[in-house]
Symmetry: D3
């Protein structure tokens, strides 16, 4: 019955630099819809991140720990679909905030389907309060000295304050 | 364990006037992702359909019968979310072909979430070969005397020819 | 000094069939930005409205009365820019919910500017909670027996219930 | 050498109810790019047009006559690609004003390619001054008593005045 | 009555590297709609600009000087809404050229509203002749040796020629 | 009769780093629609390409050689419209995959028309199987160790394998 079980596993991939309340909103929705969800941090060696992979993992753990029983955390590099196949996932979940997002996401999903037709991409919609919240915007506001209260979990707010104090 | 089971039921609603190969593509993807899927024909008394609800149900049955074990067919009227709640569904599935589709779908999904937050809308993507196939386009081509071969199942092609012969 | 004064008058036109909380959100924003605002109901004789112009005016009056000091109500037919010129307005205000909205609005604004270059169109954004609320959606939900609580003012909810009781 | 010649024929289809300056802008561009262009009026028996097919043909003739040597006028019904094949055309030309236009046009072009792969659809862009001018907008402004001067050729302006006088 | 006065101040922010005729078109429209407008150059220390902040200020001054009585120039860094609050502005004005522009602008406006709800963002539309003119495109054409005549004020053309001569 | 001949020459410009099956699909369509087509590689000295201009030219030659009689290859730098004028072209061809593509393309086309009104830009649509294939995506998949089989010609696949072996 391996197939039946694997059918219920979804991957929610991202850079999560840092995790936002919009991400957590999607994680919560996934956790209700799928039996098992892996939140998978992409290790992108090209870009200089604000937070290290370890810091991102720690922040994600502190906000998902005990709150969602069927969520596990992981990191990956290489092709997303290869990772998803190794994990025997049936779906990749993408949160879509805006139309322009969606077009890029659709192209990636078509490409991923071509690379691996057994993995389905499903799109989910965050609460409209988070429709404009992205990690990039959070980083920009932080850089300009603005408050990100309400956009990110408290633990991320604290970590950002620590970074600023340095 | 009722909750756990109901978590796996998805509704794929539509008018299916007539069912196209694009719909069947989405039905197949749903059938792999969810434990149970109800393909639900909206009874829209306002518009004059090409096919009656009974004809649409018959065509859908002939193309899903035996092919998908976890698909059932149904009809509904009234609010989609009320129907989904009565069926104890966890998700509404919408196939999205194009960007303009998506914006309308997103507004409907936000509204449905407001009417009933327990039902999640997930978006799935048909194969790109069906990205432009809609029931409306099929009806238009049929009206103008064109061939809809490859756009709809053979049984629908035959039914359309019967309609033309009248 | 007539010119200086007229520079502060804005027109917020619409069918308001019925007025929604999204409209009221925009009216409130206009009322803060402009010295004087006319909320102007378009008398469209072609379409069969849900509410008569008188009913719409009554509902708008009950929700703006005493709440906004610099808002007046009016009705108009014919070209919007002709009406705006007669009122010596400097701006037409349009609320934009979504991208697809925006493209149509942009075409109308370009056309209105061509018909009358002295009237400027400005676009304002409702609170994201109302990003999907339109009169059309409110009418549809009402027709299907759903609740529009929170989407429209209480007075509109009551009027809709009265209509249903008939 | 029939094939070589037919390669240069393009069809510019539309309802042209009435022809606008935006249409003429595209006709002029086509006339420079292709050896031969047929401006083809779609006979759409469903909709109640403002002008009869004969009136539309007369107006088109008066604005293209002598001005473009390689333009001919025609009418057609049925499928556009069937008409294009009968005419041995190599291309269908579509003017695109806006993004929302484009998405619909792209779906039609994909469908037309599927119905007849030998006919290519090419998209051309009118001058930005005409980016918002459509037959529909012209009809609306006319109905509301506004001036369409500069949006349509003088002969169309005159015909609209005649209609109003009736 | 300070509040009443402050209600009429708008900020038109940008990098203006360099100012284009599209910017000036928006400045002129703002100057008619608001009592007072501050054109505010964002000091972005991250990016290597083509012109220094001083050069940009000089060019802006030479094109707005005496032409608009109610326009003042300024520079700012940090969060736009913090700057707007210090200036007691009621509105931020953004010119929107295209749909893709608009989506980004809408996300920024939602974020700015969240950071400071007392500042409203209003969107204005440049003349269609400037719908494709951006500072970025001007810089690119200049780099490739093309003429930017008609896209920028004469003073900017001259400054660009000076840069090229170096 | 020089003008008549030049009327049939089209330029298909790009970086082709590397050429994809989507590019070849457009080249084939151009080759049927125009008498003569120049596939022109933009020499962009700013960006670090994956393949040198010579390598790109070699790959393009091997896939177009003998297959299309009316295609020639070239390289250019500077403004595209200046190059097109020197070649006495009448049209620039752009393939459009997606809506977001299209908006950027439309802005470039409007700018190019302003720089040189005698050159027309026409948009063509690749087969839907290539709607998501871009050189950028091909490079990304290659970098992550994925297979680009079916997305690019065999010769490009081989060249990519050679690069990886280094």
């Amino acid at each position: 019955m391996r197939k039946a079980l694997s059918r219920k596993l979804a991957i929610y991939p991202g850079t999560f630099d840092p995790v936002t309340n919009g991400h957590i909103d999607i994680i919560e929705r996934c956790s209700k819809l799928f039996s098992q969800v892996i939140v998978a941090i992409l290790i992108n060696t090209d870009k200089a991140p604000l937070f290290s992979v370890d810091e991102r993992l720690t922040m994600l753990r502190s906000v998902t720990w005990k709150r969602f029983r069927n969520i596990t955390l992981d990191t990956f590099d290489g092709l997303l679909v290869d990772y998803a196949m190794r994990k025997k996932a049936s779906a990749i979940v993408r949160g879509i905030r805006a139309i322009s997002d969606y077009e890029y996401e659709l192209q990636m999903a078509l490409m991923n389907r071509r690379l691996e037709p057994r993995i389905e991409t499903v799109f989910m919609m965050p609460a409209e309060a988070y429709s404009y919240v992205s990690s990039k915007l959070v980083r920009e506001i932080f850089m300009l000295g603005g408050s990100v209260k309400g956009l990110v979990p408290v633990v991320v707010e604290q970590k950002l304050r620590d970074k600023r104090a340095l």
